[in-house]
């Protein structure tokens, strides 16, 4: 008998058949098998055996006996739920505090979690993401190593040619250049385009709806557009293969749509609505081969199996090899997947980045969740005495401790899932606002199984976190003591106090952060900008505006719309170009100071309200040589080491300029940074000009001025829409991210104080219940309402004071770190922490106030009448 080798059919059967039936069924199957061997041949018998075994996979067998033993559990669970609901119904205010604070905690955690997930998913969707890199420059300037990711146009083709480890390399630039698209009657002005080498579409995984990624850019006169842009151009018609004209007049150029891209996902660093191939750009403007001109991003895809670190050793010398003017510049590859969160470099070494913020947010989310759970823990242990009789009776009638634990866990789970349901609604409603707040497109993915799995496991975790300690605590009561009446649950507990201290510690830390962030913002906003934003607007040169600038300007001035007009290379709120190649008399050969370039034809000081410290403003009417004049800002004059630079000659890229004055430092780039050395160049380089700064006449209403401007704009630039920007709006945008920080800290601290305050309210209400007789006796013995209020308030304030003492260093450290990320910053301040602490204490007193005052004023007869 072949008992040793168990047939596959039997093994299969064992997978699903209840064990108590197994022996009988196996035996019967084998017996029939032996009989079959005798009746038919063995192969057929084996088939039959297998088929017979499979047929056991039916409910009559599968469900056997499993359910029978569960019936009791089901009954008990029903009973637990019933009791839990009754307990909740009996003390509605406590249940409300528990449910509401848990829901708040879960909601804020979920929102932060969705955000963090979005951040972590940036550019993780590319097929070969581990082989994709962005190329960075690294150079030494004035003793410090700088890293930056803007590279020469020739770098990508050079890398592709010279390094075997490179599979593809592309240049990519999306600097917001304007393109006018003409399609029939439609004229659409776009700045959301990108230039890229032809293999861009195959290198990154942006899905195409139409077209072939490999051949899309074979012909230079082609364009890839997103589906939204396609709809904008052609409506519901098929865009693929159609032709669209870019620009008009002499400079116009028809291009063919050779690929339609799906709209870009939100979690990518790339932002474009259309891509033009570099081959087209180079057909029009010629190849740029200068190694000194950093103007594009370079992306590299390494061949499979190429080690990035080893490749970096090979590749770093490529710039020195081709660019004779440098002995120190190197390039290195940085993983694309780390660009979003890890791309901060300090002195040439990767050190943190956005991930620090993300980690803080994660901690914040967890803290909010834990704070909410603490409320449940505190309130249930404090009120456990009320349940003690129930526990005792259950134990006396034979309940095991584990079933009591199960009961109390069941209650916390019920609460967690109730709160979870509320949060789901809250998250759904709040997400659009939250998305705008954090400036990310966040969505709830209802159809994703992970969303539900994650949600349910979160709720299980919350239920466990909140419920396990109370469950163990309450289930440990000894029935003998309780039923004999010896038992009193202590109203004081070290753990409870510790948890309250933790809650308010977090609240105080957040409050300190709110104060510090707010003060920092005010400090920066009040910083002297060095120019006058009032009534100052700028217009980009679209269409024929640049060509007609002179007559446009004259008419603006003559009609009293503007008091001063200047054409410049860029808006005064945006940096445009910089160089370390400025030459001046007595320059140290090692000096690599970076100078910002800003071109302005004349009268910029008048237009923008700059202060001239020495010399004079540019004025072409009076001094014809002013086309090659420059103004230095204070920082630039200092960097060059001139005490009186007027009349000095400087050289930029082989062009000579002469200094005619010094302007006071003005904030050109970031208000959070010291002012960079900046040079204002005259109108000699006519190609540079693309923006008009216009100082409106302040004596006339702005609306009137703008209407008049619009009419003029129609006259001088008929084909393009009238567009303008107020400089103070543009300046305010520089504060967007720090204002997000402010709103988040404000919201978080508000929520923490709300949740912790609710918990405190619950606890103090309970304390008053417990001490009601004591209060009554105190009053009978002559205690005043005020002294009793003081006593009760002190009980709630004490843990907050402890929290203040313990968490002050943490909040100081945290805010100090945050401030240190800004070169221009305030100090945390001596009074910030005490003031924040005081604010929290006052809030806590207000929240618990109604209860304490009512208790102190109650008539002692009420509490002492019954015994």
């Amino acid at each position: 008998m072949e008992t040793e080798s168990i047939p596959f059919a039997i093994k299969l059967l064992r997978k699903f058949c209840p064990s108590q039936l197994l022996e009988e069924i196996e035996g019967d199957l084998l017996q029939q098998f032996q009989r079959d061997i005798r009746l038919v041949d063995e192969r057929k018998a084996k088939q039959r055996l297998l088929w017979n075994a499979i047929r056991y996979c039916r409910p009559g067998i599968l469900l056997r006996n499993k359910i029978k033993s569960n019936i009791n559990t089901v009954d008990m669970l029903t009973n637990y739920l019933k009791v839990a609901l009754r307990v909740m119904g009996r003390s509605k205010s406590y249940s409300f505090i528990n449910l509401f604070s848990l829901a708040l905690g879960i909601t804020s955690f979920a929102l932060l979690f969705i955000w963090i997930q979005q951040e972590l998913s940036y550019d993780q969707f590319h097929a070969d993401k581990d082989r994709l890199f962005k190329v960075w420059n690294r150079d030494i300037a004035n003793g410090k190593i700088n890293c930056w990711d803007v590279t020469p146009r020739v770098l990508a083709p050079t890398l592709h040619e010279e390094f075997a480890g490179v599979e593809t390399a592309v240049s990519y630039a999306a600097w917001g250049e304007q393109h006018l698209f003409v399609e029939g009657q439609k004229r659409i002005l776009k700045t959301s385009g990108a230039y890229a080498d032809s293999s861009f579409l195959t290198m990154f995984s942006f899905p195409l709806i139409k077209g072939d990624a490999r051949t899309a850019f074979k012909d230079p006169k082609s364009i890839a557009i997103t589906e939204t842009f396609a709809r904008e151009l052609f409506g519901d018609e098929e865009a693929m293969g159609k032709s669209v004209t870019i620009g008009e007049g002499e400079a116009s150029m028809p291009v063919t749509i050779t690929a339609v891209l799906k709209d870009l996902p939100t979690n990518t660093e790339f932002k474009f609505e259309y891509i033009l191939p570099y081959s087209l750009v180079e057909m029009v403007t010629g190849k740029k081969v200068r190694w000194g001109l950093n103007s594009v991003y370079t992306y590299v895809k390494l061949r499979e199996g190429v080690n990035a670190d080893e490749f970096n050793e090979l590749v770093k010398g490529v710039v020195k090899k081709h660019y004779k003017d440098t002995k120190t510049r190197e390039v290195f590859l940085f993983p694309l997947t780390k660009m979003r969160l890890y791309s901060r470099f300090e002195n040439g070494v990767q050190s943190g980045g956005r991930i620090e913020i993300i980690r803080l947010l994660g901690i914040l989310g967890l803290a909010l969740l834990v704070i909410a759970c603490i409320n449940f823990i505190n309130l249930s242990t404090a009120r456990a005495q009320r349940r003690s009789k129930e526990v005792a009776i259950r134990k006396v009638t034979g309940a095991f401790r584990h079933s009591l634990i199960a009961q109390f866990l069941c209650e916390s789970m019920l609460l967690a899932f109730g709160a979870g349901l509320l949060s789901l609604g809250a998250v759904y409603l709040a997400l659009p606002y939250f998305s705008t707040l954090v400036n990310e497109k966040l969505v709830l993915n209802f159809y994703n199984i992970n969303f539900w799995l994650g949600g349910v496991s979160l709720l299980l975790l919350v239920g466990l976190l909140a419920g396990s300690y109370p469950a163990f605590y309450t289930s440990a009561f000894q029935p003998v003591k309780i039923l004999k009446g010896f038992f009193t649950a202590s109203s004081k507990s070290v753990l409870r106090t510790a948890l309250v201290v933790f809650q308010f510690g977090i609240a105080i830390t957040l409050m300190v952060s709110v104060f510090v962030v707010q003060r920092q913002i005010m400090y920066i906003q009040n910083r002297d900008k060095g120019y006058d934003k009032e009534n100052l607007i700028y217009q980009n040169f679209t269409g024929t505006l640049g060509k007609n600038f002179q007559s446009y300007k004259n008419e603006l001035l003559q009609r009293g719309i503007a008091t001063s007009v200047t054409k410049t290379s860029n808006p005064i709120t945006e940096r445009w170009s910089n160089t370390d190649g400025i030459m001046w008399r007595g320059k140290d050969a090692q000096d690599k100071t970076l100078f910002e370039r800003f071109y302005a034809d004349q009268h910029l000081a008048t237009t923008a309200g700059l202060t001239i410290l020495r010399g004079r403003d540019m004025d072409l009417e009076k001094y014809s040589t002013d086309s090659t004049a420059v103004l230095l800002n204070e920082a630039a004059a200092k960097a060059m080491g001139f005490s009186d630079p007027i009349g000095e000659k400087i050289q930029d890229n082989g062009v000579d300029w002469h200094v005619i004055g010094i302007v006071k430092d003005f904030i050109f780039t970031s208000p959070f940074h010291p002012v960079e050395p900046t040079i204002l160049f005259g109108c000699n380089q006519s190609w540079a000009f693309s923006v008009a700064h216009i100082k409106l006449n302040g004596n006339r209403p702005i609306r009137e001025n703008l209407q008049a401007m619009e009419a003029l704009s129609k006259k001088y630039n008929p084909d393009f829409p009238f567009e303008y920007e107020f400089v103070d709006d543009a300046y305010a945008r520089k504060f967007a991210s720090v204002e997000t920080t402010r709103t988040i800290t404000l919201l978080a601290s508000f929520l923490t104080i709300l949740i912790a305050g609710l918990g405190l309210l619950g606890l103090s209400t309970f304390m008053i219940e417990v001490r009601v007789k004591e209060i009554g006796i105190r009053k009978v013995m002559g205690g005043s309402a005020i002294s009793i209020t003081q006593m009760l308030t002190w009980a709630s304030v004490k843990p907050i004071l402890i929290a203040l003492a313990i968490f002050s260093p943490l909040s100081w450290y945290l805010t100090n770190w945050w401030l240190s990320t800004y070169p221009f910053h305030i100090s945390v301040g001596l009074f910030t922490i005490p003031v924040a602490g005081l604010t929290v204490i006052i809030m806590a007193i207000v929240i618990t106030g109604t209860q304490t005052v009512r208790a102190a004023q109650a008539n002692p007869v009420e509490s002492l009448r019954n015994e």
Binding site: E24, I25, G27, D28, Q32, R35, G60
Partner: protein, 109 residues
């Protein structure tokens, strides 16, 4: 008939358990079904029916001996209970009552 109800196959199996007595177990019942009633029933169907009958209290079971043929696994021997016997009788009687009502002299053809 009482509130309990037996299906045709259940009744058949119950009868066979009563017939086979000491030898009433899964494989034997299957064999008997095949040889006597000329019905080819899957073993799993028989087992499920046996368990259902046991749940209803019409049969009871105990482990019996094992044979080599069964790879050393014990048989589960089923025996009809009093309730099962009563059920069978009740069903047979009600069947007979009805049978009597069928006109017997009808000539087929």
């Amino acid at each position: 008939m009482g509130k309990e109800y037996l299906g045709e196959f259940e009744e058949l199996i119950l009868t066979l358990v009563a017939v086979l007595q000491e030898d009433a177990y899964g494989a034997a019942i299957a064999e008997e079904l095949e040889t006597r009633v000329k019905r080819d029933a899957n073993l799993s169907a028989i087992h499920v029916t046996l368990y259902r009958l046991e749940d209803k209290g019409f049969i009871k079971s105990s482990f019996g001996g094992s044979t080599n043929e069964r790879g050393g696994r014990r048989k589960r021997i089923y025996a009809i209970t009093n309730a099962g016997m009563a059920m069978l009788k009740a069903m047979k009687e009600s069947r007979m009552e009805l049978w009597k009502l069928v006109p017997q002299l009808k000539i087929v053809g």
